[in-house]
Symmetry: C2
């Protein structure tokens, strides 16, 4: 942490240049580094520690729901990728191809997995024979590769980390229940752990996953009003089962195709954290994924007893929060900026006067609210302040989304809103892809999702005026 | 678990055909499945759960020693791989090359990482400037690819999972201390957690890692007397630092090269578990990595109260061991074989008579020793029996190694031993690679390591008769 001095240079203001603000944060909060591998990123320890916390939370939920982790090969032979028609059409244009092993050309080229439906399907065809074998509820943590042209750290990189769940079930109903259940796991991660409210809904035919019967999504709004697809959950019906011959002998002695799902969440979630909560001083991290929840800063630390007291407090609070002391020779002011850049939720300051008064100062990262906390109350006050802080992050993000969501009834209104007001646009839609394409063309928005549990508010399509079938959230997206 | 019936078919006896015995276990204990991706394997849930436990143990040790996890790209541009001469010569012949992104040929081909020294070195050159930045203690969990011709599950596959630690230090002494320390972390994992004794030592020049100044290793002996390299730790000196320009400004205002290490352990450790402890009934797992430590089998389970009691016991012991009940309709005998195949350390049987007597039967997987345990003593007896079981696994493996280690002084003796007695051969060596090559040729043995802390027992080379410099363990290896 010795070259930290460089890290607390000013970053570009969010209002001035949002994209540059984002790039500044990922570099200055030590989240990523670039390398000579174009389009890929190095995930540095601070960002990886956030990812490990996200993994820990999800992995526990998955296992509690009966899922098991596995590991599939990272390569997919071309013939295997080609087995499900819609799927290969969706992915083939953006895969990396291995053509040589050592100095020898391969007889069949292999793609580096962009996603693993084909591998799981082949495996399931091998291991599923009877209704007794069902369901199979598998997940894997790995990296995948998609050969993107324009890349940005976390949001779009040629290689990224993710988990991909893949399940097979005896009935269509069970597969649908799984798809919905896993979307709710993601929604909970976003809302409860990451303090980011999400719209749960279904993707249109145009936006759904290649090969899926239905894709569900959680959509979050960023500071700049743009949408970020937080995670998706797909119901494949028996499409892959038919292509790969995944059948089981049912209780009634009939051979039947399984019903299948997949669902995934990626490291772009870290991008969502940055853009949902960050400010002009840097990151603002929710407590449940913050690598450091409380940083202890001794003030006038060379005065007698200060450093000892600060260390004693650090040790004491480490029994219930992730705490760390910064007893380096940098100035307190410099340290304040440094840990603000890193988004540490609470700063605990302690100096000679505080010690005299038997108290310390606790400062919240989000609004810089100061509390004077008696030292004997740290065990109750720190968790209370952390909870209030987490609730405020969520409330602010929700308020922002509500303020920046517009309901429109006419095409002119939609175009005007898309042009002048960043945010989500609610509008009725006929269900025809031509209208989706048209809105993209005239207003530069895409359909984010058809939300669950929201009532239609009109009966004509905002685009063509024909009878409307669906309420849709439209927006510009990462 | 419904198609378990197939799994308890007899497996090939170890004495009859050791290789086939191994293959039978990996399939019938549900450890791996094959796919159309040649040379790669699917790691199934039971094996992956073992790997997760190994990861958990190591990751905690790494972090306790100050290491941080990161994630590097999986691709290495050809020019980057070429930067350190010995390293590229060692790895280039066995890497997979990506030459296309989508439908476009790449300007520069990329190899799929066989190991990541080059990527870490480039990153360190970026982020290390001053003595204050040192040491950097990084680790990553990922998969790597080496284009092997002959593959076997866990032991040698084209893709495998591992961790690779990479560190940079201000001085050569610190790097050496790190290299030795991390070898000891591996040795402890093997001996304390996996119950497999290992020989700690240094690789010869011929056998060391491509680009390393020194490679340390832990070598384990399998049931058949063959050696398995358990993990390695490398001291690079400043070789990569010079090639990549990793320099820092020291306290004395001089620019100096860093000293560097790397160390890794792979999923072949699961192969070691199979071959060190397994028997003709299947796997035998050490408690600390066994996904299930105790399986509860209700006997005559349709008699009143049996199932309830078995479930109650399972819930109760789950507070201190990983326990699972099998209340399926399969026969107890079938279940016994099934969980023996899976290597579950303890089987707890409970039937009507046991309930009457307030006891249960606990059977050890290794020697099938039965104990009648009063139900009120489960909290003390289960941990006691598990400890005794783990100690016995270690003792047996150690005894086997001691019995199958031969000390020889002449070339004839060595050739005769290598031919007729599977195991390790201790012999003095002059240090000349010509003798190493000759022993390979005439006795089909390779040098496993120059052990730490063992006294030389002679002063002439077993091969050429010239003055001996080193005591070496020789053997046939996986």
């Amino acid at each position: 942490m010795a070259n930290e001095k460089k890290l607390v240079e000013q970053i570009t203001s969010m209002d001035e240049d949002f994209a540059q603000w984002y790039t500044d944060i990922v570099k200055k909060a030590d989240l990523v580094d670039y390398s000579s591998v174009k389009g890929c990123m190095i995930i540095r320890p601070y960002a990886y520690a956030i990812w490990e916390r996200i993994q820990g939370i999800l992995d526990k939920h998955f296992k509690d729901l009966g899922h098991e982790n596995v590991y599939m090969p990272m390569f997919i032979p071309e013939a295997l990728l080609n087995k499900e028609k819609e799927h290969v059409e969706g992915f083939a244009p953006e895969v990396a191809w291995v053509t040589y092993g050592g100095s020898e050309p391969l007889a069949e080229r292999l793609c580096v997995r962009p996603t693993s439906e084909t591998l799981f399907s082949e495996h399931y065809a091998n291991i599923v024979q009877s209704w007794r074998d069902l369901p199979k509820l598998y997940n894997q943590w790995c990296s995948v590769v998609r050969w993107e042209k324009n890349t940005r750290p976390f949001l779009r990189t040629r290689e990224f980390l993710w988990q991909e769940g893949h399940t097979v079930h005896a009935t269509a109903e069970e597969a649908e229940a799984e798809t919905v259940q896993m979307l709710e796991v993601y929604a909970n991660l976003y809302e409860k752990d990451l303090c980011i409210p999400v719209i749960r809904g279904q993707k249109t035919e145009k936006e759904k996953f290649a090969g899926a019967k239905a894709t569900y999504t959680v959509e979050a709004m960023m500071h700049d009003g743009k949408a970020l697809q937080g995670a998706t959950s797909h119901n494949f019906g028996d499409g892959f089962a038919q292509a790969f011959g995944i059948r089981y002998l049912d209780r009634d002695n009939q051979l039947k195709y399984v019903s299948q799902t997949s669902w995934g969440l990626t490291t772009r979630t870290i991008g969502a954290l940055i853009m949902a909560h960050g400010d002009n001083s840097g990151l603002v991290l929710p407590p449940s994924v913050a690598p450091i929840q409380v940083v202890v800063i001794p003030v006038q630390m060379h005065k007698e007893g200060v450093l000892e007291k600060a260390r004693e407090i650090t040790e004491r609070i480490r029994t219930f929060v992730r705490a760390r002391i910064d007893d380096s020779d940098n100035t307190p002011g410099w340290k304040f900026s440094q840990y603000e850049m890193k988004g540490v939720p609470l700063r605990l300051e302690i100096g000679p006067k505080d010690i005299e008064n038997g108290q310390c100062v606790i400062v919240r990262r989000d609004n810089r609210e100061k509390s004077f906390v008696p030292l004997e109350s740290l065990e109750t006050e720190i968790p209370r302040i952390l909870d209030a802080y987490a609730a405020a992050l969520y409330e602010n993000a929700l308020k922002r989304r509500e303020t920046m969501t517009y309901t429109v009834s006419t095409l002119d209104e939609l175009i005007d809103t898309a042009k002048n007001k960043p945010g989500f646009i609610r509008a009725m839609w006929c269900g025809d892809q031509a209208c989706e394409d048209r809105l993209k063309e005239v207003a530069e928005v895409t359909s984010r999702c058809m939300p669950f549990g929201e009532e239609p508010f009109g009966d004509t399509c905002v685009c063509c005026g024909k009878p409307a079938r669906k309420l849709v959230y439209w927006g510009k997206a990462y």
